[in-house]
Point group: C2
Chain length 116, copies 2
C-alpha cells in the first residue's frame, strides 16, 4: 500500500511507459519482476505502486524514495539494468520527479452531514 | 491523504500536464482552485493529490474515483470547464485511466528479519 501526503519528506517518481497494447502484460511482468527482485531492496526505497491503463497503452509506476540521491544510487546498480533495457525495447519511457503540493478529500455535500 | 491499494475497487486517473516552467505555479493554482471548488464535491470522488515536478515542466494529478462513470459525469459539469480551458492555454494534457496492478513495500535487508 502506498500513502500520498504533502507533509511527508520524500521524493516522488511518476514514471509513465507508453506501450503497444499487445505488449502491456509483458511490460507489467517485467516491472513487477525488477521491483520485487531489486528495487524494493534498495536503501531509501519507501513504496511503489504499478498501474495498468485500461486502454492498454500505458503502464505507470508511482514510487516514493527517501531522497533523489537514494533513487539515483539504485539506478547505478548494474543488476536491474537488463530488465530496464528489455522494457525499453517495447516501451517509451517518460520519467517525472515530483513533490506533493496538495491533497483533496471529498467535500461534505449536505449541511450537517459529515464527510465520509 | 491518498491511499493506493490494488484491492480497492476504484478507478485511478493519472493526468500529466506539461508546461513551461514559467507557468508551473499558475497551473498549480488553477488546479488547486478547480479541485477545491468543484471536483471534490462531485459524487464518486474519493481522493486526489497534486504533484509539481522539480524541474518545473510537469504538473500531475493523481485521482481516484468510485467509477469511470462518476468521473465522466464530473467532466460533463459545465462549471469547472473554464478552469480546464484556461489550463489548456498554458499546458499540454495527457490523461491516463488506470487500475492498480501491484504495490511494493521495502524488503527486509537482513537474513532472519521478516518483511515489514
Amino acid at each position: 500500500m502506498t500513502t500520498i501526503s504533502k507533509d511527508a519528506d520524500r521524493t516522488t517518481f511518476i514514471n509513465v511507459f507508453t506501450v503497444d497494447p499487445a505488449n502491456q502484460s509483458r511490460l507489467v511482468d517485467l516491472l513487477i519482476n525488477v521491483s520485487d527482485t531489486y528495487v524494493r531492496q534498495a536503501p531509501g526505497f519507501i513504496s511503489a505502486s504499478l498501474h495498468r491503463s485500461l486502454d492498454g497503452t500505458k503502464v505507470t509506476m508511482y514510487s516514493q524514495w527517501r531522497s533523489l540521491a537514494d533513487y539515483e544510487a539504485m539506478r547505478r546498480d548494474p543488476r536491474p539494468v537488463p530488465y530496464l533495457q528489455e522494457a525499453l525495447t517495447i516501451a517509451k519511457f517518460e520519467p517525472g520527479i515530483y513533490e506533493v503540493v496538495e491533497s483533496f478529500a471529498p467535500a461534505a455535500r449536505e449541511e450537517g452531514t459529515p464527510p465520509t
